[in-house]
Subunit: 436 residues, 4 copies
Amino acid sequence: WVGEFFPEIPKIKYEGPNSKNHLAFKYYNAEEVILGRKMKDWFRFSVAFWHTFRGTGGDPFGAPTKHWPWEDGTNSLAMAKRRMRANFEFIDKLGVEFWCFHDRDIAPDGKTLEETNKNMDEIVALAKELQGSKIHPLWGTAQLFHHPRYMHGGATSPEVGVYAYAAAQVKKAMEVTHYLGGENYVFWGGREGYQTLLNTDMGRELDHMARFLEAAANYKKKIGFNGTLLIEPKPQEPTKHQYDWDAATAANFLRKYGLIDEFKLNIECNHATLSGHSCHHDLETARINGLLGNIDANSGDPQTGWDTDEFMTDIAEATKVMLTVVKNGGLAPGGFNFDAKLRRESTDVEDLFIAHISGMDTMARGLRSAAKLIEGGTLDNFVKKRYQSFDSEIGALIEAGKADFEYLEKKAIEWGEPKVPSGKQEFIEMIFHSAL
Amino acid sequence: WVGEFFPEIPKIKYEGPNSKNHLAFKYYNAEEVILGRKMKDWFRFSVAFWHTFRGTGGDPFGAPTKHWPWEDGTNSLAMAKRRMRANFEFIDKLGVEFWCFHDRDIAPDGKTLEETNKNMDEIVALAKELQGSKIHPLWGTAQLFHHPRYMHGGATSPEVGVYAYAAAQVKKAMEVTHYLGGENYVFWGGREGYQTLLNTDMGRELDHMARFLEAAANYKKKIGFNGTLLIEPKPQEPTKHQYDWDAATAANFLRKYGLIDEFKLNIECNHATLSGHSCHHDLETARINGLLGNIDANSGDPQTGWDTDEFMTDIAEATKVMLTVVKNGGLAPGGFNFDAKLRRESTDVEDLFIAHISGMDTMARGLRSAAKLIEGGTLDNFVKKRYQSFDSEIGALIEAGKADFEYLEKKAIEWGEPKVPSGKQEFIEMIFHSAL
Amino acid sequence: WVGEFFPEIPKIKYEGPNSKNHLAFKYYNAEEVILGRKMKDWFRFSVAFWHTFRGTGGDPFGAPTKHWPWEDGTNSLAMAKRRMRANFEFIDKLGVEFWCFHDRDIAPDGKTLEETNKNMDEIVALAKELQGSKIHPLWGTAQLFHHPRYMHGGATSPEVGVYAYAAAQVKKAMEVTHYLGGENYVFWGGREGYQTLLNTDMGRELDHMARFLEAAANYKKKIGFNGTLLIEPKPQEPTKHQYDWDAATAANFLRKYGLIDEFKLNIECNHATLSGHSCHHDLETARINGLLGNIDANSGDPQTGWDTDEFMTDIAEATKVMLTVVKNGGLAPGGFNFDAKLRRESTDVEDLFIAHISGMDTMARGLRSAAKLIEGGTLDNFVKKRYQSFDSEIGALIEAGKADFEYLEKKAIEWGEPKVPSGKQEFIEMIFHSAL
Amino acid sequence: WVGEFFPEIPKIKYEGPNSKNHLAFKYYNAEEVILGRKMKDWFRFSVAFWHTFRGTGGDPFGAPTKHWPWEDGTNSLAMAKRRMRANFEFIDKLGVEFWCFHDRDIAPDGKTLEETNKNMDEIVALAKELQGSKIHPLWGTAQLFHHPRYMHGGATSPEVGVYAYAAAQVKKAMEVTHYLGGENYVFWGGREGYQTLLNTDMGRELDHMARFLEAAANYKKKIGFNGTLLIEPKPQEPTKHQYDWDAATAANFLRKYGLIDEFKLNIECNHATLSGHSCHHDLETARINGLLGNIDANSGDPQTGWDTDEFMTDIAEATKVMLTVVKNGGLAPGGFNFDAKLRRESTDVEDLFIAHISGMDTMARGLRSAAKLIEGGTLDNFVKKRYQSFDSEIGALIEAGKADFEYLEKKAIEWGEPKVPSGKQEFIEMIFHSAL
């Protein structure tokens, strides 16, 4: 393959909201400063190698539909290298600075683990070279779910040999992420979960998972990798129950096993909605537990019960996401990874760009609206005022844990029936939507 | 009201599976010993005062439908006493030894908190007398959701006056539960949650909730109440998000605020399924977190998105519940509370009995099937064997936290591709269902 | 009650998008012409009497929270009259021209049907007078679900006496709607459905429902009422299964019983989403079946499994709704009824106005965005072009039912492997969202 | 491949409920007469070639896991023949008399449609020979969803070339089904649906689908095929909306386009539950519309939002299914097809047998329980009695469409407030479950 992979795609530029050019940004303006920070620094957008370069369009009912011109139908080392070059041309044209990968996306399996690792080294050396100084991984991760050996899980497989194999694989993936300058390392619990409780010792499996993550945290320190370790909650799929169901479940696990200071969370919007929460809820849950580390910026279909991994287009949702991100002081060293895929039926090369542009513009509109709300002040002031009765002497006593039931009973009798003002949800929603 | 409340209902007896008498037990035989314990001691069944004696059949679209002969249409003290007498006749005829109540179910509100508490004292004195020596509360609780003052929550209300009022109410409810010999005290988070994140400071509300529960735990010790404090998870309804979403969420909360040793959980099956889990899952989650304290034995409709609080009739579900209960060594001092209500359209007095008999027989079939499975051994042996590769030297190292990634990588390379046996889900389901 | 009901609320005016006045329209400008029609004629907004004037804030877990100053706590005729006057002041200040009602909302039950009808006549006479020449009902309907007599349904009750009573009630409600100049009459199947199939003869119940609706259509003609009869689909709640599950289910029923030309549908967005469809889907299904007659403009919570009846705030959803309405050539004699209620916690009188303003502005933004899309042409042209291969000779043969399998097989062999272009979903979503 | 495919599996025999042999039937006794018919004639069980012989265990997150010894890793004609021989050995050992297939499961694609058809002919000739006189297809169907050409649908593709190709494929599949003695032909609308309404002309697509099915019905007659044409409803997956959403939706479509007498429905339990109904509901809906033709006997996970296609194990569900089947007078020429697959993690050859045995025994328990209920009479009598007020003179008038609103009003006034008895849901559920 000689020359450009995307010869018909120009470098994507900001042209403003009135542009009709579908290959331009209308809202995302990388260097523009919003709320005291450049847009690109709020977002730290990342391209997901697996969806963008390994997504085939196959689904449980159908064969692959994508026939990218650079693909030769093999899973050879040569193909892996060519694909990696395509990746960096894509990143460059899109104008982002991060990418994310699973070990097995970027390099083919060998016949043995050593051979596999050798393949990986060869590809990673090329990636390092192509990255240059400006681009590096937002995070890397190990694919512990595709190969049949992981059919019962990796760290939670009932087979000790699989546990060891998974450990070896994560070890290598962490090394590689570190080598490439990755800023985080992610654990998505692929098949860590169960299909039926009848054949499962859930307690023992969770103990194993804890030991595995503990060993990972130790190894990270050993190799001097300073990136954040991130757990990515998901409730179901592929298993009936994934152990990292949602942010609260993952937090309970981390607390139970003394790992709460070693990990943060990578919240994926579509995973949040599958678990019965709004994306905003799971982000806030992560935030108030001190665990919000990264966002997988995608979206599901509200009427669909599986992970559709769509690029987010809902500007109200994006605005809520950004309200949380701003409250969190940003996400760095985390960022926004597009764990989102083209629809199976989108088969033009330009669709890859359109989808990312649309996703970036949606998030950018979210930031702009969030900034309007924050600078307007009405939203925050309303919430603050709502709790003002606790900004009192007795409120302070309560919040300090010094108000016992006897004292509170005395107060309750003294005060009589409390006044309870309107929650004014419709008003606050009006304020919110008027900023969109 | 003179004489019996249920003159046409005999004392319910065990008549065995061939009985056609709908006012007899076919499976529940209180004194029969199963797995080394009397059935009644495995279950410790409890009648829920609110559903059975305050359930009106009203729903969001319709007026009350129940016109029990002993009700006079008032909420007077006299009516409260008459109802309490009906309750104990019901309990006696059903042949159980426990009941559960909310403070506001059993006694009417007065004009002030003091007056309300006085009403309560009067009713509670009667209840104490009617209980005799054999019957007492499985648990008591405070109703912090019905009165408009609690529309934004009790412990998590933005109004400090409401927080204090709630504290005073819980204080009294704990005292009363203690006085009646209650064995547990439950916190169901009524309206502790939010309708929209836009008007809510979730972090601050959760802090308040923690302070509240801490004060409750302190007060319990102060009054010498030795019962277990139980949190009852529920994901939604009445609020869009209830803070005690599911067992894992509640556990995370308890761990975060240092309350994990002070509380256990009361798992309700219909709440579990509304949160996207099987009932069995949330029971197991509670159990392996050391938190399984009580079960609200009811059931939802699998196609319905709200709490239908039906009496459980699914014998497979009941068997799974009992497998967990046996693993837990039973539930005492907890038990099975029938937090279940007659359908709105069930308006005969005998329906109250039929529903409870059906619920008790279902659980009893569950216990009998579980016993068959446990005594047969196939199920447990299968699971044990599935993990046997961890019952090895290296398995022990891993489980002790002594196997680091370098060691595991060495092993993985040494062992080569691991063998992964079939999960045999269909086989184990065949075994399971053959016991029903 | 003397004087104004809403003395602090001015007549709501259009002030444009930059207004910060929460008691003004920012997008809804009644007289402004969009796509060749005045905004008010596209929408024909209607206030729902039941939610706005009979909504108490009660829910299954809590007592009423609204304490409107004009309510005296009774359900007297005098109160009904006062409330009706409040209704028309509200309508006047909001600047709409339609209202909707259930018979039992507006007038109290008497001891007998005759007395009830007499009460109704008295209130309706007042309403007629208050309506003046500009205002009249978008539709009326009968409340066949609140009273215990309807606990098993009205037209589908197993009791023939209930069937007759329901018929008598609908008869009167149709007369009253006609008398007030109503333009439609709605059948929402309250409790027409089942709680369990085990006690239900679904076939017989559906036969009864058909006979009932047939009789209604006949009576309409007899009294010279020219309004449209509308069925309002809903999947569940209060029953486990409502017979008018969704648009397609209602259409099947109408076709099966030969009623397809006598009825149209009133699509409610929250009902659509509860049935697993997007609102847009059920509107389009109604439209292409020739049945789109009216819209109940509300919205549910995407993570909540019951009818929350919120005012719509989602501008993307509103835009899709309006794309369908424009394709339908508008809705008249139907319109948009706000079958939406204040949140239980919204207890200020002004919240009633804010909620309606927000709902109207959301729909107005939807219309403006839809107009942008329609006038821009990209969306329609894209879809048209997508099917252009059918605008061919063979396409015409197929669409005329003249292409048999043998002919098509010949063509398939002749043509070889067909080319299938990208569906370009991300592109079309980008176009769509750029109009918001 | 010489000799047996399943040398370690004996012919599966009935050994009764006490047998511990997991390769024996405990409840299914083919020749035993229940309710006047042999069990095998009630069920007409069929093996689904695609799941049982083409299921690989692959899922969206993982590679195939099944490595059946007879598979050589190719999709050659030779492999197709070997697989077909395995199929008939499986059928013989299981002791059933029917199988179902998609055209593309059983024979490989060629380079052109003609070549593909030639492959098919070769395989079909072998199948015919292997069938002998006792075995034949319950139904055949065409796979119009796997190949990328069908990514936008077959009959509803926007490309006329795809429509023609689909027609040619169905033509051949119908011929082949007829040739093999198939008793039905099924249309599962693979990708007949949409991913987004924004790029879709739903009305035109449905018109095309109608023309397609009309042509199929015509062709059936032309070739003298007397089998039933069956539509298989499914709500979602792979598309966001499948046009044959549920039984009622399919019925509406058939009625709208005048096809109601040409087609029946194939109800799949897991599809029913995904559409928000119980399986029992969709079966009853099909039955009372005169459309119940066949059952795809499988089951989903009640907490999972996608089609899990599990073998049914729920005996209560199976009993409800059989109550409907008996009311329908059986299903012939339809039957029960096991559209169910092994879990991905079930990788032993014997698991294929265990799963089918378990599924057949579950249905057999369902039949036995249904017979107990029917012979007991309590259930039917209860339902009959519940509607007895309609077995009156006025009931007859209503049911004949002769009771107008004026007459009914007169009756309602004459009768006064109707009496409404208890629905006794708990009682009837007790009766139902006592038969299990």
